[in-house]
Amino acid sequence: MESLDTIVFHVTMAISVVAALLVVTRRNPVYSAVFMIVFFTMTAIDFLILRAPFLAVIQVLVYAGAIMVLYLFVIMLLNLKPEELRETVPLRRKLLAFLASAGLFLLLAGAIRSSPKVMSAPSLTAPLPVAAPESVTAAGEVAPLADELFNEHALVFELTSVLILIAIIGAIYLTKKRGTVRHGTSRT
């Protein structure tokens, strides 16, 4: 079980990285969106292995389901032609972007590798200690998660609802049709 989890995790990691790379490199956003879905699904599996079953479900439902469908919907709505999708990014900028991200990666990797706490942490797929209390063994399941979320973080939760409400209003306001706006002029 333990080794299986580990193997699966490694496989999902590999697929995730490849999918992420494909998301970034595809010219057509439809493909990007499809590989996004692949990436999110792999992430959901990772969450399962990392003892977060509720998050795994949410990941598939909200990300892979709702958000990416929204993306695809928009892509279809815009109905961009291939020539409109052509990008003219100079090689120099691509190189700079690569250097920046690679530098960031090396920096963070160095930080991770040099942290004794991280390096000495036990295997993530190892079973929990036998003496572990129930709150630990049940962590990530729906009931204790809901219990803590709605009891201790009720205010934050409610604030989140306000945030989403604002986002909805903003989205409606932005997409509402208002007269004709000439090309190249800022709208007020």
Partner: protein, 110 residues
């Protein structure tokens, strides 16, 4: 092949994050840029969940066992809101300039 180190997962998350950064910097299609942002947010989620999983084995646990995952739920909510507003802006921009190419949109310049 049994050991799944925390460092491996964190490096993976970092890697995905940096791929997202590269995408934001190198792409011009606004939709793809938004997707890259989602990618970055997700990689952070992975890192948080992995750290939370590692915290479960620690004795005593540094945080409440469910805390990291609640954090992730919040990030999810923010990501959903971001996607909604981001796509709405994208639509508005497209309506004005008939393009989703970030390179062509430089009227932000004052």
């Amino acid at each position: 092949m049994e050991h799944l180190g925390l460092d491996v997962v964190l490096l993976f998350a970092t890697g995905v994050f940096c791929i997202g950064v590269y995408g934001v910097l190198s792409r011009q299609n606004l939709i793809v840029i938004l997707m890259c942002v989602e990618l970055m947010l997700n990689s952070v989620n992975i890192a948080i969940v992995a750290l939370g999983r590692a915290a479960l084995a620690a004795d005593p646990p540094p945080v409440s066992p469910n805390m990291p995952q609640i954090f992730v739920i919040m990030v999810l909510a923010v990501a959903a809101a971001e996607a909604g507003v981001g796509l709405a802006i994208l639509l508005a921009v497209f309506r004005s300039w008939r393009t989703t190419n970030a390179g062509d949109i430089h009227l932000l310049k004052g």
